[in-house]
Each structure stands twice: as C-alpha cells, then as structure tokens.
C-alpha cells in the first residue's frame, strides 16, 4: 500500500491568494492531508498549488485534485498550479485537468494570473 509521504504547508502569498506548498507524493493515502490543507484556505479568493517539490503523482492523486477543484469551484475560488515538471504537465493535459486548473511556470506568473501581486 502507498505510504504517506506528503508534507504540506499553507501560506498566504498576498491577501486573498493562498499557496499550498506540496512536497512529496500525491496518492489516495494523503487525501485527509490535502483536504485539511484546503480547509485552511477556504476563504481565499485564489489558491495556488505549488508542485515544485512534487515527487510522485498517481492516478488516484489525479482523482484527489479533481475533488479539490470541485470544492474550489463550489466556493467560486480560482485554482492555479505552478512548478509542474514537463512530465506532470503532460499528465494534466492528458487527463484534461488543464481545462480547469491554469498551469504556470512559477509563483510570480501564477500570482499575476490570479490577480495578486507580491508588491501590491
């Protein structure tokens, strides 16, 4: 069975925009951790998923991201992702997650797209 190997940190980047820093694996085993992180940013206008330290994502993890996206949409929150490797960027395209989760190269461009500004 998949081991729990995810560390998550939630931080407010600018007012109204929260970043979830993901370090490790996203698999069904980490559902509670991921959803708990989401609950910490339920009042954010936009959520940025930082995948720079993502080690591994399996198909069950894609299912978790779908659930996260649905919850964000229900609260009318934007969901952005950045820091994905080329491989996982392709997986987002293959599963068509990129239809609903905007993908960016880095936090600055994700923030800009989310209507936030580090200096603003």
């Amino acid at each position: 069975m998949t081991e729990d190997t995810l560390q998550i940190a939630v931080r407010e980047s600018v007012p109204g925009v929260t970043v979830i820093d993901i370090h490790g694996d996203i698999t069904p085993a980490v559902e509670e951790q991921l959803m708990s992180a989401y609950r910490d940013c339920e009042h954010a206008r936009a959520i940025l998923l930082n995948f720079e330290a993502l080690d591994y994502l399996n198909s069950g993890g894609i299912g978790l991201l779908v659930t996260l996206l649905v919850r964000a949409q229900r609260h009318q929150q934007q969901l952005h992702a950045y820091g994905l490797s080329d491989h996982y960027r392709q997986i987002f395209e293959l599963t068509r997650l990129d239809d609903a989760i905007a993908i960016h190269d880095d936090e600055v461009s994700a923030l800009s797209a989310a209507g936030g500004d580090r200096h603003g």
Partner: protein, 240 residues
C-alpha cells in the same frame, strides 16, 4: 531509490501524451470506428453530476498479495466481465497507452466504445474514458491490505457524458454500473477461492452541478453512433 528507478517510478507508469484515441488492432465484435479519433474525456468534461463510486471485496482467508491480485486482474481483465458485455483487451494487455474496445448489446443495438489505459503499476491500473463512452472520467482498479487481508477495489470518478445518459442515471445506468462492478469483483474473488465474498458499494456525489455547456456531448453518444452506422456506411466507406 536510484535516479533511474525514480524516473521509472514517475514516468514509466503513465500513457504517453495524446489528445485522441487510435486503435491499432481489429477485434471481432467491436467497432473500432466508435473509438478512433475520439478525444479523451476526463471527470471535468462530462455533463452530469460528478460521482465517486467505490466497490470493494475483502479476500478474507485467502493468502494472496495485492500485487498478485492486480497481476491476475490485468492479465485476464476481460474474463471478469458479465457475459452481456465484451471487453476486448489489447494484445499487449493492460499497459499504459493501450486502447481497449468494449461492446455491449442493448435493445437490439450493438454499442461500441473503449477506454485508454491511463496508468498502471503493480497494485493498480486506471482507465480513462473517451467521447462516446457513457461516462466521462476515470476508473481505477486496485488492491491493498486492510485488516490483515487483501482488498480488491474499483473506484470510479465519473459523470454522465451527455444529457441522455444523465436522464437514465437514476432508474437504469447507476444500477447497471453497480451490477457490472459487483460482478467483476465477485468473479475476481471467486478466482482467488472466495466465491461467497460480499461486494460493498458506496456512492458519493462530489458535484451536484450539471455542466450544461457540455450538453453537446450527445452528438458522440454510442447509441446515436450505432443508429447512424448503416447510413454512415452507405455515404462514407471505411477506406474513403
């Protein structure tokens, strides 16, 4: 873990990037034309409410590992299906990137569709649906240890692909879906010597909203495709 092993773990288990399906093999009883060129349709692309449906069977008293269960499941996938439907696995088996064809006879119509093998590892594999399949979404087959024995599981995260399928969900399609996966898991349990194992089913509505902008998916409906097949053959030969 070495770099090569890490790369294999991360990259070797997914299908290669593609936007549409291509069928390389002809299989008796299934119509490749119902799948060829169809776009993939994940849980975000369908029309109806989003459901997470989970079916489990506990293989109590059976000395078998999750890896052994999934190996047999992948190797003989089609044999676990109900007799009313036919799953034509690709010759190379349940391997990421392969396309499997499915045929089903309903109301005098021969319905054909397929799935892409999106992901596969030692303890799980996942199918992704294309346009024309009754559902948009992913279905993951897995096994894990719980309470000292192996549990086989099917988990679907799916929406009805179009308004016609959504209309049929409450009184037909949900029950049909339940019957298929309960049969698959019962047959799998029987293969491992647990013919009386009970299959549990759980359905959670993840998103109650219908995606009306996807209503046009109905033009890919497998029933519509089957109805139009004779007309299509007269006007556009397969090799045209």
């Amino acid at each position: 873990m070495g770099e090569a092993a890490r790369k294999r773990r991360v990259e070797g288990q997914w299908a290669s990037p593609t936007t549409s399906l291509h069928v390389h093999e002809s299989v008796e009883g299934a119509d490749p034309g119902a799948v060829e060129g169809r776009r993939l349709s994940g849980p975000l692309q369908g029309f109806g409410k989003l459901w997470q449906k989970t079916y489990r069977v506990h293989l109590e008293g059976v000395a078998v590992s999750p890896e052994q269960v999934v190996a047999v499941w992948k190797a003989d996938y089609g044999s676990f299906w109900p007799a009313t439907s036919r799953f034509c696995a690709p010759f190379s088996g349940v391997t990421p990137g392969e396309v499997a064809l499915i045929s089903d006879r309903r109301g005098g119509l021969q319905l054909s569709t397929g799935v892409l093998v999106l992901y596969a590892d030692e303890v799980s594999f996942t199918f992704l649906c294309p346009q024309g399949h009754p559902f948009a979404g992913m279905i993951t087959f897995s096994a894990h240890v719980d309470g000292g024995h192996t549990v086989a599981q099917v988990q679907a995260i799916i929406r009805a692909q179009d308004p016609l399928i959504e209309l049929s969900m409450p009184f037909y399609t949900h029950r049909q879906e339940d019957r298929v996966w309960q049969h698959v898991l019962s047959t799998l349990a029987a293969r491992f010597g647990a013919p009386d194992a009970q299959v549990s089913a759980e359905a959670v509505c993840v998103d109650r909203k219908r995606q009306w902008r996807r209503a046009g998916n109905v033009r890919h409906n497998a029933g519509w495709y089957a109805l139009m097949r004779p007309f299509r053959r007269r006007t556009s030969p397969p090799d045209a």
